[in-house]
């Protein structure tokens, strides 16, 4: 088969089984767009801003586990994509981002729409390529998909100069079946001896804790984690990125940990004597004050990336490897050994946890006349039967969604944790809905975040991808306001959005259904109505209590046992 560079790009996408290509055209990629026009195996989704393309591809990837694919032009197309690339990088999401580049002969001459895309994206990609020769294009595409999806996943940028896609230069095409890179061999099997040692440590624990993270979702290890945790019967806490990997409705789940984690999760972290971290990276939002992190615990850490191990917290037993085989091996050793998980009596530990739980740290005022944002999420959970895909933006609403929507399945909770990118939620919902047209997809957002990629409302209509937007409108950049209240003596410097659009009209202008909900009694009916409108995108503008804060909260530099609790919730720390 003889193909031009432009055709090769598309052919490679077909070979990789790519369903959707999220993109936006421009001069440097017009040859590729022309090749795209002449086929229909790969469906192009025309976004309204390149940031939206990257987030939509990212949402698609998080929900499906398959790589998200993006096509943008050189210069501003590429720079607009950078926020989305960095978002994916921080959360280890597999993306392949194809960027057009100016023709090879003019690279370096400050040509029209030239930027050094490889240079700009280098610190926020797993790897990137500049393709200098059409004969290497297919091989490079193959490598890009391979690198993006194996080991610790991440975004890969393939920068293609326009002349490399020249439609008039055809070369023989064959898609490589395999790829081997002498410099890249992600390790998959954990070290047997380390695994054995870890099992001994776990079985000897009096106050054990399982701390699992996004790696369990990324590595599709949810079933293995659930088997492991149930076999041991240990309490489980999950990071923001791990939610759903272990069922939130399981009694062993003590809630999310960290800055806005539950009282019981954080207190248990502080008190535990053996901690096993599974696909989690000891982020500073999780550890709080490093010096006082799990002060009584010996730590086991399973991670596929050696660089995640002992990066911020030194661990006692590192295990580098893929999660499922490691946990399965642990279960096997436990099942075949003499010491049973319940040989040590841990009823005292569970009693302690029960007492911490009794504090009801997520308590909020249910009798308020204003709509409480927590209430909206609870109702959303009920109306969707806990089965929706929930994307979110960044801020207080994100934390409430994480705290109050009880995810029982992985890949259902889709948010930007590492970079914390406002604007992520709406385009991500688009990507999810395209992947699962029959599923309920909700985007929990705030009036500030939603405006950062609001233009994608048009894309939702164009591709008939109806999602439900839950705008928790508190009139403030609530998360910023909360910090200003606590840390800057309520000096609300530029965190109030004085001129908000009429979101209902805005939704209508984009061809969707708009609703505004002002009283608690209307919350449930509005949600029910919105989800009944199966083929419409509904923008629900919930006017919520502007003074509500996210609790508990561990302020920067504080330890796990130094939480600020909601008013009316008293601390029972002395019980510990």
């Amino acid at each position: 088969m003889e193909l031009s560079g432009a055709e090769i790009v598309i052919q490679c996408l077909k070979e990789e089984g790519v369903e959707f290509l999220f993109g936006y055209p421009g001069g440097a990629v017009l040859h590729i767009y022309d090749a795209l026009f002449q086929q229909d195996a790969v469906k192009h989704i025309l976004v309204r801003h390149e940031q939206g393309a990257t987030h939509a591809a990212d949402g698609y990837a998080r929900a499906t586990g398959k790589p998200g694919v993006v096509l943008v032009t050189s210069g501003p197309g590429a720079t607009n994509a950078v926020t989305g690339i960095a978002t994916a990088y921080m959360d280890s999401i597999p993306l392949v981002v194809i960027t057009g580049q100016v023709p090879l002969p003019v690279i370096g001459s400050d040509a029209f729409q030239e930027v050094d895309t490889v240079g700009i994206t280098r610190p926020c990609v797993k790897h990137n390529f500049l393709v200098k020769d059409v004969t290497r294009l297919a091989e490079t595409m193959k490598k890009a998909f391979y690198i993006a999806t194996t080991g610790r996943p991440g975004p890969v940028v393939v920068d293609i100069p326009k002349d490399v896609t020249d439609p008039n230069r055809k070369i023989p095409f064959e898609y490589p079946k395999t790829v081997s890179l002498r410099s890249y061999n992600p390790q998959v099997r954990g070290h047997r001896w380390q695994i054995k040692k870890a099992v001994d440590m776990l079985l000897g624990a009096k106050r054990p804790m399982i701390y699992s993270g996004g790696g369990v979702v990324l590595g599709n290890a949810s079933a293995a984690l659930t088997r492991f945790a149930r076999l041991l019967g240990f309490p489980v806490t999950q990071t923001l990125m791990g939610l759903g990997a272990f069922p939130s409705t399981d009694p062993r789940f003590v809630g999310m940990l960290g800055m806005h984690g539950t009282y019981e999760a954080n207190m248990a972290m502080h008190a535990c004597d053996v901690l096993i971290a599974i696909g989690a990276r000891f982020d500073d939002r999780v550890t709080g004050k490093i010096k006082e992190f799990c002060p009584h615990a010996r730590i086991i850490h399973i991670d596929i990336d050696p660089a995640s191990i002992s990066k911020t917290v030194r661990v006692d037993i590192p295990i580098v490897g893929e999660i499922t085989p490691v946990l399965d091996e642990m279960c096997e050793i436990i099942n075949s050994g003499d010491i049973k998980p319940d040989t040590i009596d841990r009823s005292g530990w569970w009693e302690q946890i029960r007492q911490w739980r009794g504090l009801d740290c997520l308590h909020y005022d249910r009798n308020s006349e204003r709509i409480k944002p927590q209430f909206v999420i609870e109702q959303l959970y009920e109306v969707t039967g806990g089965n929706a895909y929930v994307t979110s933006d960044v801020g207080q609403h994100q934390m409430w969604a994480a705290q109050f929507y009880k995810f029982d399945l992985p890949r259902r909770w889709i948010n930007s944790g590492g970079l914390g990118t406002m604007g992520f939620g709406l385009p991500a919902a688009l990507g999810v809905k395209l992947a699962f047209p029959e599923a309920d997809v909700a985007c929990v957002t705030g009036e500030a975040s939603i405006q950062m990629c609001i233009q994608e409302l048009a894309t939702l209509l164009q591709y008939r991808a109806p999602v439900k937007i839950i705008n928790l409108n508190n009139g403030y950049m609530g998360m910023v306001r909360q910090w200003q209240e606590f840390i800057y003596e309520s000096r609300y410097s530029h965190s109030y959005l004085e001129t908000l659009p009429d979101f209902r009209k805005l939704a209508e202008a984009y061809g969707h259904v708009g609703m505004q909900i002002k009283t608690p009694a209307d919350v449930r009916p509005a949600l029910e109505e919105a989800f009944r409108l199966r083929d419409r995108t509904v923008f629900m503008d919930f006017i919520t209590d502007p003074a509500e804060n996210v609790y508990p909260m561990i302020e920067a530099g504080k330890a796990h046992n130094e939480m600020r609790m909601a008013p009316g919730v008293s601390d029972t720390r002395e019980l510990a």
Binding site: R122, P123, K126, L130, I147, R182, S183, A307, S310, R314
Partner: protein, 164 residues
């Protein structure tokens, strides 16, 4: 502590900037960095001298290993090793006595005079960093016109090598 990390890296454009970028982005220290192709044209050998606590050095080697272009690396300071640096020094030396003195120092430090003009010498010295520092220290300070140092390179002693 000071560590010398030897790296085999794909001889691709951009590979060097990935390493340099990693150090600046993560706030690691680089004392010196040398790079040149090896007998295998597809590979470059890089020698990187860095300072840091054991924890930092561990992260540095892990992060370097994570770069797709890095094929293999070793911290040669963890082994018996030899390190060398090449230095070229141009000195201004006009009167006879001073010229004699420079020649004597070159001799003591086993250097070589590789260019001579009526008023200057270019001297080549190789050795460990401390030797080069000592040589510079013994020259009359005002006489140095320029100093060019290659940065440190090194290998492990014995049969073991950093090879594929």
């Amino acid at each position: 502590m000071r560590h010398i990390i030897s790296i085999l890296i794909e001889n691709e454009s951009g590979a060097l900037s990935r390493v340099a970028g990693l150090f600046s982005a993560r706030g690691y220290n680089i004392e010196s960095l040398t790079v040149a192709p090896t007998q295998d044209e597809s590979l470059s050998r890089m020698t990187l001298v860095t300072l840091g606590s054991d924890e930092v050095i561990e992260q540095i080697t892990k992060q370097l290993n994570k770069l797709i272009d890095v094929v293999k690396l070793i911290d040669i300071t963890a082994h018996e090793h030899i390190q060398r640096e090449l230095m070229l020094v141009k000195v201004l030396s006009v009167d006879n006595a001073a010229r004699q003195e420079v020649m004597r120092l070159v001799d003591i430090f086993r250097g070589r005079t590789i260019d001579v003009s009526p008023t200057t010498f270019v001297i080549e010295v190789t050795g460990e960093k401390s030797k080069l520092d000592a040589f510079l220290g013994s020259l009359e300070s005002g006489s140095i016109i320029e100093v060019v140092r290659s940065g440190v390179t090194g290998v492990m002693r014995g049969e073991r090598g950093l090879t594929l």
